[in-house]
């Protein structure tokens, strides 16, 4: 993890606006610009593959993190309890093999996104390193007017 951290370059100045939540993927994930509905399908486990060879791996911040609260409100439109019940139900219905993997800090989320093929997470936009890809939502990057995750 430390070795990986040493390779991390400076954060992106263009998106370095604290408060906006960036959707982040590995550079090899085939996603540049997604609609909010597409993002919702990914985070709700309704879309589980980027393509036939690459499964989506969800990394979600632990409860109480500000980023998680933004995502619960805007993407899931659920309370914390509803979010937990949703994923228990999803796995019980055999619609997903497991729920999202919980990460405990922005850095852990970004480290794992860089390490796991097909992974996607959300993080404070000011902390995203250059070697990871920030996905545009409805054509907008964090910091731009109308960006939905704030």
């Amino acid at each position: 993890m430390l070795a990986l951290a040493l390779l991390l370059p400076a954060v992106r100045p263009a998106e370095a606006r604290s408060g906006d939540v960036a959707v982040v993927v590995r550079a090899d994930v085939p996603a540049e610009n997604l609609s909010l509905a597409d993002i919702r399908k990914l985070f709700m486990g309704d879309r589980q593959f980027w393509n036939s060879n690459q499964r989506v791996t969800l990394l979600v911040r632990a409860p109480v993190a500000a980023e998680r609260e933004v995502v619960l409100k805007v993407i899931y439109q659920m309370s914390e309890a509803q979010f937990r019940q949703y994923w228990i139900s999803k796995v019980f219905r055999a619609e997903a093999a497991s729920g999202p993997k919980i990460v405990h800090s922005n850095q852990m989320a970004l480290d794992l996104v860089g390490a796991i093929p097909g992974s996607i997470t959300f993080a404070d936009s000011s902390s995203v390193p250059k070697n990871l890809k920030v996905v545009k939502i409805n054509g907008l990057l964090p910091g731009e007017k109308g960006y939905p995750l704030r």
Binding site: L6, Q48, R84, Q85, S98, P117
Partner: protein
């Protein structure tokens, strides 16, 4: 029933007294949340500072940065927890399949004014659910139930174990998934939304049309399914196409150890979840089979059904309809039996959000000439209740039912259920 109502009241009061303590600790929990939030923010700040210091200590020209590798370096993979690797499809680093298990169960109290009913406590089903991702594309799912029953011959209590679902599924991608196994038949919403997890559903019991042990909808299906989801211009069209053993000679049971005739059951289930109306789901299904009853009489069966569901909780809305057509193979009267229900619930806002009042009306009509259903009395009526979520994984439900069966007096009943997942 009247003699039991004080017992119900006392029991409910005791239950609520037991759950009042967490409510009184709410303030403490809030301050803990604030503390955790502050600590997380502190961690994020420190992580950013460490990154800045490390990049200053070992500056690298941007052009020299290594491009992201298509696969993580082995040493990095080995530092990632096994559970992450498992969902990421790196099982080659793991020596055995990662089996995950969860469970559901419930305890109930019931009191009714129906003659012959014995009021009191009873234990619900004890459900274990298994999930095991074998590779990135192959997953095994299982559901086992243990149900408290009285032996029909000896009268002794017993807990027979039943494999409710056992499925192995190959996911090619989101559009195509192929599986084999024993399923809950995907021809209505409730049967595949809540399975045996009573904690997941709002009410204490299933609607009569999809009741376990009932016959109206064949609850289980043994065979193969092809399923997937297509974007369909934002409609998100989901499909299930299945071929398998149909009903057994006892029409409420599936053909677990083989079909009882040479006619396979087939089904098609379609539903959409439009992007534009997040939370809405609209579906329709068709199911075809040939039934061979114990006496050897055979019937063609066509089931058509439809449902509309608003999956959010404020409000929650579920409506389903099904028509079952039976036509004797040897000629004779074709019959149509219908069942439908409408259920509405609303999770209260603000400080009352642990409470969720609900109401359901259901209706069933089975003609006397419908031979395969002749021993299944239709029940119609209302269910009115309140769900209270004691914690995120435990629910207490209080329910009043007013139902009637043709030719019998109307039944009034009070039901209390504590259901949970673990």
């Amino acid at each position: 029933m009247r003699s039991y109502l004080p017992v119900v009241c006392v029991w409910c009061a005791a239950s609520f007294a037991g759950v009042a303590a967490p409510a009184l600790r709410a303030q403490e929990a809030t301050s803990q949340s604030e503390l955790i939030r502050a600590l997380l923010e502190r961690i994020d700040k420190l992580e950013r500072r460490v990154s800045e210091l490390e990049s200053q200590a070992a500056p690298q020209p941007r052009a020299a940065l290594p491009a992201p590798a298509p696969e993580p370096p082995r040493e990095v993979v080995e530092t990632i927890p096994a559970s992450v690797l498992q969902i990421a499809g790196h099982q080659e680093h793991i020596t055995a399949p990662g089996l995950r298990m969860s469970g559901f169960t419930d305890f109930n109290f019931s009191a009714t004014d129906r003659q012959g009913d014995i009021s009191g406590f009873n234990e619900g089903q004890f459900i274990l659910h298994f999930t095991s991702p074998l590779t990135q594309k192959v997953t095994v799912f299982g559901e086992v139930s243990m149900t408290a029953r009285r032996n029909a011959v000896t009268g002794a209590s017993e807990f027979p174990v039943e494999v409710e679902r056992a499925i192995v599924r190959f996911d090619q991608n989101d559009r195509l998934k192929i599986s084999f196994g024993r399923y809950h038949t995907p021809i209505n919403y409730w049967n595949t939304a809540f399975h045996h997890g009573l904690w997941l559903q709002t009410t204490t019991a299933r609607p009569r049309m999809t009741q376990f042990g009932g016959v109206f909808i064949p609850n289980h299906f043994v065979g193969s399914l092809i399923e997937g989801a297509l974007p369909a211009a934002g409609l998100n069209l989901n499909y299930n196409v299945g071929l398998g053993n149909g009903r057994g000679s006892l029409v409420g049971q599936a053909g677990d150890f083989g079909d009882n005739n040479n006619f396979r059951a087939s089904l098609v289930n379609l539903f959409v979840k439009p992007d534009r109306f997040f939370g809405l789901r609209v579906g329709a299904s068709a199911y075809r089979d040939k039934i061979t009853l114990l006496g050897g009489r055979e019937f063609r069966e066509w089931i058509t059904s439809g449902n509309i569901v608003w999956t959010k909780e404020s409000p929650e809305f579920i409506a389903e309809f099904a028509n079952v057509n039976h036509k004797p193979v040897d000629g004779g009267l074709s019959t149509n039996s219908q069942a439908w229900y409408v259920q509405a619930a609303y999770r209260l806002p603000g400080a009352a959000n642990l409470w969720k009042p609900y109401y359901r009306y259901e209706h069933m009509r089975i003609p006397l000439a419908d031979i395969p259903f002749q021993n299944f009395p239709p029940i119609s009526g209302s269910v009115l209740g309140m769900r209270y979520d004691i914690s995120q994984f435990v629910a207490l439900k209080l329910e009043y039912r007013n139902q009637r069966t043709p030719g019998q007096p109307r039944m009034n009943g009070a039901f209390v259920q504590s259901s949970f997942t673990f």
